[in-house]
Symmetry: C2
Subunit: 252 residues, 2 copies
């Protein structure tokens, strides 16, 4: 998603060229899953996760989420990121119950395909459009209630760094962390969706959060996820080099 203007094939090639070992595709980039899998395999890359399932209150949610599970399995990843979707009415408790019921309905299909479901809390400013699940705490409440090793959480620093309880919640997430996303919160952020920053350009304590995730036992890949047209517009080499450089400076 950090290179949203490129076709997936270009992202795969660029990662291979630059020694990036993992790629995490979003579904809108998957034209032909089998073809994508062949390209990724041929380049020697692994797939960190597929993003996204979720939106459990949408009309076709169940069918679409079953397809997303199948696509994840076909791509060779065992993680499907869930962006759980907004409330359809003002009743947030009902929206959250709808989401939990949707995850439970999806779970047998996910287990059958060897795909784990990662509940990603989104920033509270995204509640009306993207997710009624807005804290790591409630993602963990839900994962614990479901109580299945195919349900966990995905932690994105952008969505969670503000939380005064983040330290204890990351510790609590031990054994359930299915993904870790990095980027940055830019000072003077004005836009609720497309102003995510490059690591190091903002105010997030990236290395500290990474050390908390490490301490919770997470050993999987770390995904860079920057939704920002100013980043998307960078020339290919500059985007790749800057991303890798900042990752090494701010996260490693």
């Amino acid at each position: 998603m950090t290179a949203d203007y490129w076709p997936l094939a270009d992202v795969v090639d660029a990662c291979a060229e630059h020694g990036v070992e993992w790629v995490g595709p979003w579904r809108h980039k998957l034209e032909d899953v089998e073809d994508a899998r062949r390209r990724i395999d041929a380049a020697g890359l692994k797939v960190s996760s597929l993003c996204r399932g979720g939106f459990f209150a949408a009309d076709n949610a169940d069918a679409d989420n079953r397809l997303a599970v199948e696509q994840a399995a076909a791509l060779g990843t065992d993680v499907l990121v869930l962006v759980c979707g907004p409330p359809r009415t003002r009743d947030l408790a009902a929206a959250r119950a709808t989401i939990e019921a949707g995850i439970e309905r999806l779970l047998p299909h996910a287990r059958e395909h060897g795909v784990r479901l990662g509940i990603e809390p989104l920033h509270p400013m995204m509640i009306s459009e993207r997710s009624a699940i807005v804290t790591l705490g409630e993602s963990l409440d839900m994962a614990e209630r479901i109580g299945d090793d195919h349900v966990g959480v995905v932690i994105d620093v952008y969505h969670t760094f503000w939380d005064p309880r983040i330290d204890e919640q990351i510790a609590r997430a031990a054994g359930r962390i299915l993904g870790f996303h990095v980027n940055d919160w830019l000072p003077a952020t004005q836009h609720t969706l497309l102003e995510r920053g490059m690591m190091g350009d903002g105010i997030i304590e990236l290395r500290r959060l990474r050390s908390l995730v490490d301490a919770a036992g997470y050993q999987g890949p770390i995904e860079v996820e920057i939704l920002n047209p100013a980043v998307w517009e960078l020339p290919r080499e500059e985007l790749m080099r800057t991303t890798i450089d900042r990752f090494e400076k701010c996260v490693v």
Copy 2:
């Protein structure tokens, strides 16, 4: 703040004309505090609160906050709303400690003037510009640690409705609620500051939150606070009538 384009004198007159009994001025509208007090008294209004003190990491914070306390007392209100200010570095824990220390330094002056300090959590999307305090839970943690009847919290539905723990936190706030602000969260909100909605235009369960605040024993005035140029630009009569009408339909 719902009529930010009008001088305070016009707001006072309009409230008196329309039977609104309370007014909650912001400090940028106070040119002459004594004169403001005379106008408000003459119109038969009471002052619900003064907004704002806070910004504890600013260079002149202590002097400015002492002045704000004095202005609140001079206006005849016993509530100063605290917008606590952003972090100065990436260290949020340090920013929060700076805020708590600032409140403790201000407290004797506030007590002496009969002014209570209301810690207002702001929406997490405002963290880098306006407040490192972003949940009602941490406002209450702070108020409880300070443990003085001149320190409480202010609850704004816009800043808090998204919180999956809001019900229990409002209940916990019993005896410490110094103000309650209403407005609405508009669907498809794109801007992090100036898109607050008129009550009824958004997704917040206003009556439910009001009933929680009632159940916590709050009996003070309810303030309408809408930061939005589309509201500010409404003609005087339309702004007054719409605000009162929506308040009665959605909050009462």
